[in-house]
Symmetry: C2
Subunit: 178 residues, 2 copies
Amino acid sequence: MAAKSLPLSRVYRLLEPGPVVLVTTAHRGRANVMAMSWHTMMEFEPPLVGCVISSRDYSFDALTATRECVIAIPTVEIAAKVVGCGNTSGRRIDKFARFGLTPLPASRVKAPLVAECYANLECRLEDARLARKYNFFVLRVLKAWIDPARKHPRTMHHMGRGVFMVAGRTIRLPSRMK
Amino acid sequence: MAAKSLPLSRVYRLLEPGPVVLVTTAHRGRANVMAMSWHTMMEFEPPLVGCVISSRDYSFDALTATRECVIAIPTVEIAAKVVGCGNTSGRRIDKFARFGLTPLPASRVKAPLVAECYANLECRLEDARLARKYNFFVLRVLKAWIDPARKHPRTMHHMGRGVFMVAGRTIRLPSRMK
């Protein structure tokens, strides 16, 4: 990816439409990546992101221990890799190697960026108060990267049981909302 | 809307793709409706939904006081009404009347369903622990309604500053995820 720094004030525009994302962690010398789509923006700036990562997932322990992760946003061109990450566990395999994803060094966290994704958000764990009861984490985005060449990224949106909606056309309406 | 009861186990399929939703409340004899897209699934069944409703919004007080709301999911056919709800405050106007939305009685809560929406979720406030710090509410879906005639609802997905992505085609992949 040709990465350009994205102002933190624009991060909400990437996550608010609800794409499936990849979440990377690095723990005990190993990087891992999982697919996730239970997330929401919680604040514009600094950008706060709430997300659910199950305690059954290998990434739960890595995130809890290191308090860092990267949220990478894939597009439909790499759908097979994304689904592969969702179908497997980092306990057993190196998913970067298995699915041909390229880890790149991040600037603020040890978790890697994903080169094949059009945007990458370096995050620090901000609040884990609801982690025990709901597996819910509040993340703060420290640094955001985007591929400036990708004008209309076709994000994937999970509808359950193998069905994904692919981002369609965009329309402009006289909204006064940020 | 021709409303059919939807099993609670399927609610996540409606919200996980990230659509803009309407949230209705009823407080002190008045119904109100707001537009919202900072939400995430938190549990499959019973379905838990996390969402951010700003303390500046009129609905914040109604939700806090009554502990009930309805999440209604609109499609692009009523985009102008949705944006109208987002641009205005229930403090000053009756948005149902102003934007030609039809409130219908719900079965488990006093907040109304929205007839023009293809799905309606009756919700009770489950956890407000993060409400003070992040305006974040955990809602439990008690009852779900869907229009069985709408096979490919074109949901709207907010991208900021008046730009919305309209749900595109769907694809099927060999995902083992629920």
